[in-house]
Symmetry: C2
């Protein structure tokens, strides 16, 4: 039914749309910003999980990709992308074995925070005859994963150095807690503090004669600070590529457009003052609140059921049964993970359908 | 890596597990309850989206299945299930056309609430040479979709009767707002009120000489009331088959076991008093709160990130890196929709992997 070349109106719903012009501008805008910053961009693909978008980011200047999961990295490697950072711990026998398979076909780097895990990785790498890149993950205040900055990071780096099957590439630290600080001055102070912890850990290693090639951190919300922080070599921003309703409220991201929407149909108009659309908990995500509706200030998404959305409509406004609306995701990364494909729009028409090859690849 | 016959411990994570013994008992328990009630069971497959489970429910006595979406119904029809109720409005040209294709291969019934939609369905059915079953959807207080009870329902029924391509089968009304009323006495009052609206609408139609074969309502939380309500002919309960942490708190559902869990790995133990597991927003759902951890009272899931879960651990308790835990979904239906497959467990070992064929089929 949904044919390449058809108009947006003809696409069945719920469907996940990308406005290609907006996405391409976002890629170019971020690439341009990084041409003017000391660090490089290694975009996080957890946002789109789609190789063709990753390739576009690399063509624009990115040095490789960042992945959250081994499964995502495998998808990217299959699509010919060689330089992969898995910004996460790889724990457990099945994944460690798979990782070595991946390492044969790509330049993969993983994060480590634990000496037992380091030994596991090292022994498997030796057994499989591969050399595995690792970064010491430093907890820069995110209170999730990572060693403490300073001495504990140095200690773990020395552990890594014991194994000839591991290649210590440097350090990483994610200042996730800074991404959504609304005030830019406060964000700058907090992000700088966090990155100081990371860079000082890098310096500590270097002072001991340990080469530190990579110092990785940052996200879309902090890239303008982290990317300029002396000593940081690469930034892991991901969401900028399509944005979402939450990121779009942030200072410093005004140049990035909202490329992602969920096309939905008004499927019930039997109530006064509200309509029901066909996008709910299985086709939108809500962890950061209700998503807005594009270009329809008279409509307000109030609450989801599994397959329905309750939308209040201002009195006097007319919304018809069967009408299509575009809902702007409140969190692009989780919203993408609900769909098998992007419907790619240019000038109001369907230009392509891209499979979201990494959807559900959470192992 | 994950081979049939392996132990639960060997399954890679995150993975969605079904305890088969528990699920089979749930199917039998509900079938037994309906043998003692005047109405039939037509289980809602939005919970599992998986044909083999639907077939087991039918083998145990269910008269067919209920679906939320056309796509789910197509999956069930492909697997040989003929009797399909889509308890939802089918709106828009692409879906109405698909629906008629489905109607050629199954006995499909859809809900209607709007005369324009009724005409659309009727004309397409005539054009395609099929006879489509419809139920008048009555709003019994759920305030989502449906005509008002009484006269408006009768009016729409008369609209339906104008078209020889439509087969008016009866009425349906979902008392969703009653499902989670904690106190059974209050639930009984509210559910009975709602079902009175539905059954009195059916009687109004019958009084006008309109045959009413089906009066459909109910869910897992109200089946013991709705299933016994005079005049109700079938009940749409779905979640009972695997249950979840929220349903399990309800009075009257003590006989149903929690069959569904998410197997997750402890991937970081670098903090005092907490650990990080590998199941977050992309592998668990949180609309009704944080999910509990099976058999581990010392662990408490505090908050998710995209691919991480922050779990508090009681002081003195020992949790090891790489340890596997089972998390009980707080909402089975949305949680299932995140996974491509169920890993089916019996006696601690993997007996089968069932593809969740309806996952993501929200169109």
């Amino acid at each position: 039914m949904t044919k390449i070349g058809c108009s947006v109106e003809e696409i069945d719903t719920p469907a996940l749309l990308i406005d290609l012009d907006v996405m391409e501008r976002n890629i170019e805008t971020m690439a341009e910003r990084f041409r003017g910053m000391p660090s490089d961009l290694r975009p996080h693909v957890k946002t789109h999980k789609t190789p063709i978008i990753a390739h576009k980011q690399i063509e624009a200047g990115a040095i490789g990709v960042t992945c959250a999961k081994l499964g995502e990295a495998e998808v990217m490697a299959e699509a010919g992308i060689r330089s992969l950072l898995i910004a996460n711990q790889i724990v457990g026998e099945p994944k460690v074995t798979r990782l070595m398979g991946l390492a044969r076909h790509s330049d993969v780097i993983v994060a480590v925070e634990d000496s037992v895990n380091v030994r596991h990785l090292a022994e498997k790498a030796r057994e499989k005859g591969v050399k595995l890149g690792v970064l010491i993950e430093v907890d820069v205040g995110n209170n999730r994963t990572g060693t403490l900055p300073g001495e504990p990071s140095l200690e773990l780096a020395r552990e890594v150095q014991k194994y000839s099957s591991l290649n210590l590439k440097g350090v990483m630290g994610y200042e996730g807690f800074c991404q959504f600080i609304p005030d830019m001055a406060t964000k700058r102070v907090k992000t700088t503090e966090a990155m100081n912890k990371l860079v000082s850990s890098a310096h500590l290693l270097e002072g001991q004669g340990i080469e530190v090639e990579i110092v990785s951190g940052g996200g879309t919300g902090t890239h303008m600070i982290t990317g300029n922080h002396p000593g940081v070599t690469e930034v892991e921003a991901g969401s900028y590529v399509v944005m979402d309703a939450r990121y779009s409220t942030l200072e410093g991201l005004e140049d990035f457009g909202k490329a992602l929407t969920v096309l939905s149909t008004v499927m019930s108009t039997s109530h006064e003052g509200k309509v029901i659309c066909d996008a709910g908990l299985k086709t939108l995500t809500f962890e950061f609140g209700n998503p807005p509706i594009k270009g329809r200030p008279e409509m307000s998404y109030q609450r989801p059921n599994e397959e329905h959305g309750h939308i209040d409509v201002e009195s006097g406004a007319s919304v018809k049964l069967g009408e299509k609306i575009e809902i702007i995701p409140i969190h692009c990364c989780t919203n993408t993970n609900l769909y098998d494909a992007f419907h790619c729009i240019r000038d109001g028409h369907l230009e392509a359908i891209w499979r979201i090859q990494g959807r559900g690849r959470s192992q």
